[in-house]
Amino acid sequence: MKKVEEKKRGDAFCQRISTAVWKEVPDSDNPFQIAEARCHGYEHLALVNNGSFSDVLFLLMKGELPNPEQSLLFDKLLISIIHPGPRHNASRAAMNAAVTKTNVSHVIPLALNVFSGEFLGSHEVFNCMKYLERNIKLIPSDVAADAFKRLLDVEGDKNPAPGFGTVYGDKDPYSQKLADNISSTCETGKYFSWACLFANALSEENCGWRMTGLFAAGMKDLGFTPYEGEMIFQIGSAPGIAAQAAEKFGRPITDMPFIPEENYVIE
């Protein structure tokens, strides 16, 4: 090509950002400052004084406050995933950042980057919610049988479906325990019921729930989209990751393992 003619597409970009989430009433003296703020119509200060964090998080995303059953389910889901555990790669990233004196502003962002993956990370929640949407009208045991047929014979964990499979080679008993707890203490809906049957069918091949799967199923029953579900999973797991980093702050680099020479093999 000798020369290319570049021309504007002429897209009709908006002049102002539109939102239904948050309303800021300008201060009468300085229009950049806020006199009053409202979240989906409710005065922010009224929410500060009368709402819980999880209820207002639900309101922000859904536009309405949760009813008592939704509130209970949402809160239990959030506490179920509040900490991926100190062995999770995201927690280890946060702890390593803490002992190596990484700028504190970066600790949660970098750990959530590690936490964004498709294996035991936030994108597995997204993929699982999509998977549930695609399969909800099918019979769980049929979907499980089909998933096993497609399963790749590769080393490592079995991944018959996002949010389900093995963890460290076996069905994950702790995720099962958390899922059972949600089932027995909350009013769940068709997605969680479907996922319970699906996990049960997967157990024939030593597979089952993952934390990501139980969160995804619960979020579908609460009416969240996969996009919202992934972000709330990140928000929900950040406290545990943060606590691990905070605990390590001020500790020397020797407070975290550094693999010795003899265990570092260059092939």
Binding site: M1, K2, R9, D11, G169, V265
Partner: protein, 272 residues
């Protein structure tokens, strides 16, 4: 000793506990830093460019300097100091918030992992041109290939870009390819035939990503490798935009009055 303490050598996870096995390399303290058969400090530093080392790290193959220079120029093509470009805007907003250069730059790089621009589109473009070449060799015409793509999707990967039609960066990269004495390969030749057809019939042209993946396919790189090598392709543009706003008074990059936001939500209401 409990059964939990027994090392099961057949267990993948037990085998990797407290042990790293790397085919990339590593630091032998007091000896050398090894990188895939090279001594990093003796063989690479001072003898190769940064882009050669980056390509070695990503692909396991040390390319010649021409290819590294070519790739470096694609980074220059995608690293503009215009803060209206979305990834750059992350840097500008971070700078205006007095976030560190690292935070702002990383924010911009993350933003570029998109399916409409940046390294996030590379695998789709690569898949398209790879399949197109197979079909072309099997007898399909350019028109058939394009029409079938439009039957499946609303665009042809590598042949559209946001904001503008036409991409001057392709011409710039063709000049770079020519100056570095690269010969046009079969993917690139087909890519330009598709460009001709699309510009004549659909008012769309090849973009720099489309050109890049065709060139890199001709040089034997996989989609995964291309995505990895272009991870930081926008980085210098983001850095420029962060630096500019960081050096100005805080909060003065595109400040907004309250009523610059168009509230479209529900009316004021009381808590139940």
């Amino acid at each position: 000793m409990s059964s939990n303490d027994v090392l099961d050598v057949d267990n993948l996870w037990d085998r990797n506990r407290n042990r790293i096995s790397s085919n990339k390399g590593g630091w032998r303290i007091g000896e050398a830093v090894y990188n895939q058969g090279y001594s990093q400090l003796e063989d690479l530093v001072g003898h190769t460019s940064y882009f050669q080392v980056m390509l070695l790290n990503v692909t396991g193959r040390l390319p010649d300097i021409r290819l590294a220079k070519w790739l470096e120029n694609t980074f220059s093509c995608a690293s503009w100091p215009d803060s209206r470009i979305w990834c750059n805007q992350m840097g500008a907003l971070a700078g205006s918030s007095k976030s560190t250069a690292v935070a702002g730059t990383v924010a911009g790089v993350l933003a570029s992992d998109s399916v409409i621009y940046g390294p996030g589109v590379m695998d789709h473009c690569m898949e398209f041109i790879g399949n197109a070449l197979k079909e072309y060799k099997n007898g399909k015409t350019v028109q058939q290939i394009v029409d079938e793509q439009f039957g499946r999707k609303s665009s042809v990967p590598g042949y559209a870009r946001p904001i503008a039609k036409g991409d001057e960066r392709v011409v710039a990269m063709q000049r770079v390819s020519s100056d570095l004495e690269f010969v046009v390969g079969e993917h690139e030749a087909l890519a330009m035939k598709i460009n001709e057809y699309l510009s004549e019939n659909h008012d769309e042209c090849i973009n720099v990503g489309g050109y890049m993946v065709a060139f890199l396919s001709d040089h034997g790189f996989s989609a995964t490798e291309v995505k990895r090598m272009t991870t930081l392709i926008v980085v210098a543009g983001v850095q420029a935009c962060h630096a500019e706003t960081y050096d100005k008074p805080a909060g003065t990059y595109l400040p907004m009055r309250c009523d610059d936001i168009n509230y479209v939500g529900v009316e004021d209401r009381d808590l139940p």
